[in-house]
């Protein structure tokens, strides 16, 4: 589904990623661990080109996302992303946060369809698009138990609530894959559980997930494959059992002895 070929990324003179090769299959849950500054967040951000790779390719369903001719916005609609600092739209209510992107992209799609004059295509009015998006958003809010916060602004939510809303905001676009960039690192310890719970539910539903995290428990429980990165390279990858119980790379052994 996602194929990374010889990916490098430099910030000025600093080379953060030094040739990454990685394949992510449909339905797979990949957890990326590693010390700070190892390039794991950068790798994740290259998967949807939030950072433009310096060289190499990111193939998503065979489409090279690093190609400037590719409509990156259209591709990103199918790649959900959750950030460490939530990045909810501060000027929009919770409901508007979830509805905004689906409504805008649907409207654009309808405009295109109308121009093509395809008789078979189902053309929805603006009101219908909005009503559908709202129904979907409310269903998603119900799933995370925040229906009563629909009209609240992000500033009125706790960190855990914000992150849960951020997750369903991405889900509202029906993505094929979800990228998580340290989703629990900015949360109070108390609130980590509720966010991980939502992510576990998502994993059970069969979503393809790539998660950068420091939550080793989560990596062990949910991950199909764990990737250990340091200094811009993948040093070891394998099942959670292989990585956590039988680590081979000395750097990984050292890392685990510190965090476990």
């Amino acid at each position: 589904m996602i194929e990374v070929v010889n990916l490098t990324k430099c910030f000025g003179d600093l080379q953060v990623l030094k040739g990454i090769d990685l394949t992510i299959e449909q339905g797979e849950k990949v957890v990326i661990i590693g010390p700070s500054g190892s390039g794991k967040s950068t790798l994740l951000r290259c998967l949807n080109c939030m950072e433009d790779p310096t060289s190499g390719q990111v193939l998503y369903h065979g489409v090279d996302l690093t190609d400037f001719k590719v409509d990156i916005n259209e591709q990103r609609q199918k790649i959900g992303m959750v950030f460490q600092h939530f990045n909810l739209f501060n000027n929009k209510t919770v409901l508007e946060n979830i509805m905004l992107a689906p409504v805008i992209t649907q409207k654009k799609k309808m405009k295109k369809l109308r121009r093509q004059k395809d008789a078979d295509a189902e053309i929805k009015t603006k009101a219908q698009i909005k009503a559908d998006a709202k129904e979907n958003a409310l269903a998603l809010l119900e799933r995370i138990g925040l229906t009563d916060k629909a009209d609240a602004y992000p500033s009125q939510l706790s960190g855990g609530q914000k992150q849960r809303v951020a997750i369903v905001r991405s889900l509202a676009m029906n993505p094929d894959v979800m990228l998580f960039d340290e989703p629990t690192s900015a949360l109070d310890p108390e609130m980590v559980g509720e966010v991980l719970e939502v992510m576990k539910d998502l994993a059970k539903s069969g979503m393809t997930m790539v998660v950068v995290t420091h939550e080793m428990g989560f990596a062990r429980e949910v991950g199909d494959r764990v990737i250990f990165m340091d200094e811009g390279k993948i040093l070891e990858e394998g099942t959670p059992d292989e990585i956590f119980n039988h680590p081979k790379n000395p750097r990984l052994q050292e890392f685990l002895s510190k965090v476990l």
Partner: protein, 236 residues
Amino acid sequence: MSGFDRKIQRFLEVFINAGGYNKVLEGLQNTLLIAVLGLVIGIVVGTLIATVRVLPKYKRLPRILNGICSFYVGLFRGTPIVVQLLVFYYVLLPLMGLKMTSVAVSVVVFGLNSAAYISEIMRSGIQSVDPGQMEGGRAVGLSYGTTMMRIIIPQAVKNILPTLGNEFIALIKETSVVSFVGATDLYVAFNYIGSNSYEFMVPYLVMALIYIALVLIISMLVKAMERSLRKSDRSR
């Protein structure tokens, strides 16, 4: 005190009987028209310029646009507004063979002038919004422009509203120079009353009071807008 009474008497005579109030109404209308339309043009053009100036600069087109915009801002901030009015009215219009009323010229010049200032205000407003907001928008598949319009600029406007109010107030007061190109504003109206009654003290006093009243009303409106925009903030 009787001297002052007589002055008021004279003023009222011209103001009411000799049609002075018509002149004042016209002046007030023009002053507001130039300031309001100037502000609207300023906000639209200024926002466009600000958006160009915060564009990522690794491609050639944004860099060229950015150059043009900074030249524009430099030009309009580097010359007095009176000079801009005169150049526009007496140099550019005849050169291009265009005919415009002096009020229309004032609207355009004040709009373009305030655009230069507002673009800088808006730029700082845009840059004060957390970059994560842009990332959040791009990550759900919205384009740069859509995210800018729907997410970043509304938050930027909220941050800079007090400064924008200031700009509007400055604009209202600066319009008092449009008589240089022959437009009738508040100053021209009261000057007319003054010269017809041979008495300038009261007309200019009333003029000052009207300006103060205008500015107070605007500050109140800005405060009210700030309050309604602040509803997404923590403090309420």
